[in-house]
């Protein structure tokens, strides 16, 4: 199977869907770049180059560079979705959601319900999240628990190139609003990605390792931390199951509980801030539904309750890592 990067997989998903359905358009700041300038058009292709090359395929009618105006971008995309287009809106950094959150929270998420089941809002919001690249507090957050909290939107968080393409194609085809989270440190990660279009269903977590001793639950970039930790633990004779959530809303509760009941020991690795994050949410779910199977307290590995620090020395301490998983695992195995 051809090998592609996370970035290429996302680009391919967008290009293939735009080819397949003329209603799909891409809107955002510098998604091509160069608008209104004398220099190169498609100058950026998104700040990390993810959408480069789409302008020449689809033109400025469907690849729309906007001013820096998040409320109008998200609102316009939402209104377009309501009236027959299938837009992909880019929120450049998830940290900027504060600027436009009303359009997501009170408008997009609620149309279908508020309007009595008559509205269809097939909007996909792509956004970059995550730390570890020294981008400091306003450009390194995760924030996906906030979206997960809101009824009416779906939250998708792929852990690698294969998942990214299949989940993004599904996000675009899905008729509900979807937030698609891309970890900014993963763009060059490579893996097998078919050339053809394919769809990965929502609400299906993926088991990337299987073992009876302990369950490691990850999402997005923390999945590879869990995989690495699992491989290291195996050398010490500890067999870990790793569960990649893939989508936070809908959540694959069945797989979570199935594995929790099998191993009785669970560690959830969540890069978002610790209060009210996904780890706490899943922890409560397991305690509620599978309490009698627990052999140890459920452990949550998240950064501390601070903004993301700038200094590399501090940020490296801030971010969850394999060692934290391994030492936690050893604690709950004894």
């Amino acid at each position: 199977m051809p090998i592609k990067s996370y970035k290429e997989a996302i680009n391919e998903a967008i290009a293939q869907e735009m080819k397949r359905d003329e209603n799909v358009i891409l809107i955002g700041e510098d998604v091509a770049g160069g608008a209104g300038t004398n220099g190169e058009q498609d100058a950026w292709g998104g700040v990390m180059g993810v959408t480069k090359g789409l302008l020449s395929q689809f033109g400025r009618e469907r690849i729309i560079d906007t001013p820096i105006t998040e409320t109008a971008i998200l609102g316009m995309a939402s209104g377009a979705a309501l009236t027959g287009l299938r837009p992909i809106a880019e929120l450049m950094f998830v940290d900027f959601m504060g600027v436009c959150f009303d359009q997501i929270l009170n408008q997009t998420a609620k149309f279908r319900y508020m309007f009595g089941g008559k509205a269809i809002t097939p909007l996909t919001i792509r956004t970059m999240y995550g730390g570890g690249v020294r981008a400091a507090s306003q450009h390194s957050q995760c924030l996906y628990p906030i979206f997960t909290h809101v009824p009416g939107i779906k939250v998708v968080i792929p852990s690698g190139p294969y998942d990214a393409k299949g989940l993004l194609i599904n996000s675009i085809r899905d008729n509900d609003p979807v937030i698609f989270l891309e970890h900014k440190a993963m763009y060059d990660l490579t893996g097998d990605v078919p050339d053809e279009s394919y769809v990965i269903p929502f609400g299906e977590a993926n088991f990337t390792r299987e073992g009876k001793d302990i369950t490691l639950i990850g999402m997005g970039k923390t999945v590879s931390l869990c995989n690495n930790a699992a491989d290291l633990l195996k050398k010490d004779g500890v067999h870990a199951t790793v569960l990649d959530l893939r989508t936070l809303s809908p959540l694959d509760e069945d797989s979570i509980l199935e594995s929790a009941e099998e191993t009785g020991r669970i560690i959830i690795v969540d890069e978002s801030s610790p209060r009210c994050n996904i780890a706490t949410d899943i922890s409560a779910l397991i305690c509620d539904k599978s309490f009698s199977y627990l052999k140890a307290p459920i452990k949550m590995i998240s950064p501390p309750h601070t903004p993301v620090p700038f200094s590399p020395f501090l940020e490296d301490i801030y971010m969850p890592d394999e060692q934290a998983i391994i030492s936690t695992a050893k604690k709950i195995l004894n």
């Binding site: 906007t66 609102g75 995309a77 209104g79 009236t83 279908r112 319900y113 309007f115 008559k118 509900d176």
Partner: protein, 321 residues
């Protein structure tokens, strides 16, 4: 006046229905039978009708919390609207939206909106759809003088201008942003704000249906013909408070009387058409009676109608999950 008889009757029917609807809501609310909040449009009817008579079912509008008038002007059914206010199952939104979220996409009504300034970016979206699909349609966003200071309005105007969208922004300036006068809160000139973004603009007396209609016609036709976005500043008045329950102590009784006596769009319309011999007073009275009957019937039906079932609580959060 370029309107024929049929259109004049249509115009008055619309305004009359809006008046009857919100007056009835005013009365019903006072009895305690209506749940939640309502924001009444009495006194502003000419604005909604004057603009919406230039739109068809494919054109879209987005409205605000004071949305009953826009809904009715755009063709929403008043009986199911009333049921919605009562939270009944066969309300226009299944009882799940309420007064501030009334919508009917089949009539191009993208919803009343509980967030001040929340609907305006949406009409840029509809306008983008029309532009992308090369449709000759227009999207109109109604918002108030209070909303005019929201960042979303400025962003929407700029975006519409940058992308040359067929979007028309209608600011219904009724002089008050909740309890704060617009002379205090709105800095500079609303029309200048539109000009600043390169929009075609107009200012119009919102008590005069004909003035609104003709101004809107010119503006909307321009947008249909590729001239891009525009802003209409409609000066109008609301008879009642910001919301029902508002004691309106921030406005003097004289001002309120003046609005009712001298600035009533229905009275002004009646005077104009009867003086010009276009319609008979009796015809207009007949229309009023009809509207009154219709709304009274709507209230009876609404009170009798069923609430949604418990299972309806969980439906339509998503299309599929």
């Amino acid at each position: 006046m370029q309107l024929n008889r049929e259109d004049l009757i249509k115009a008055y029917k619309g305004m009359s229905l809006i008046r009857e609807f919100d007056e009835a809501v005013h009365e019903e609310f006072a009895t305690g039978s209506l749940p939640g909040f309502v924001h009444l449009y009495v006194g502003e009817e000419a604005s909604a009708m004057g603009v919406c008579m230039n739109l068809d079912d494919i054109d879209t509008i987005a409205s605000n919390h004071r949305g009953h008038g826009h809904c009715i002007a755009k063709g929403c059914d008043t009986t199911t609207m009333m049921k919605e206010l009562y939270g009944k199952k066969d309300g226009i939104c299944g009882g799940k939206g309420g007064s501030m979220h009334i919508a009917d996409l089949s009539k191009g009504m993208l919803g009343a909106n509980g967030i001040v300034g929340g609907g305006t970016p949406l009409i840029c979206g509809a306008a983008l759809t029309y532009k992308t699909k090369k449709m000759p349609n227009v999207s109109v966003g109604f918002f108030g003088d209070g909303a005019s200071n929201q960042g979303s309005i400025a962003e929407s105007m700029n975006m519409a201008s940058v992308l040359n969208l067929p979007a028309v922004f209608v600011c219904e300036d009724n002089g008050f942003a909740e309890s704060t006068g617009s002379s205090y809160g709105v800095a500079g000139s609303l029309v200048e704000r539109g000009n600043a973004f390169g929009l075609r603009t107009a200012k119009v007396d919102g008590t005069d249906f004909f003035a609104v209609y003709e101004t809107a016609k010119e503006i909307i036709d321009g947008s249909r013909n590729g001239e891009g976005p525009a802003l209409i500043h409609v000066k109008t008045n609301r008879v009642y408070g910001h919301f029902e329950g508002d004691a309106i102590t921030y406005r003097t009784d004289e001002e309120t009387e003046d609005i009712k006596m001298n600035k009533d769009p229905l009275k002004i319309f009646k005077a104009k058409v009867t003086e010009a011999g276009l319609l008979e007073a009796s015809q207009l009275e007949e229309i009023d009676k009809e509207s009154n009957k219709k709304i009274k019937q709507a209230i009876i039906e609404s009170k009798e109608a069923d609430f949604p079932k418990e299972a309806d609580l969980l439906t339509d959060v998503y299309i599929s999950y």
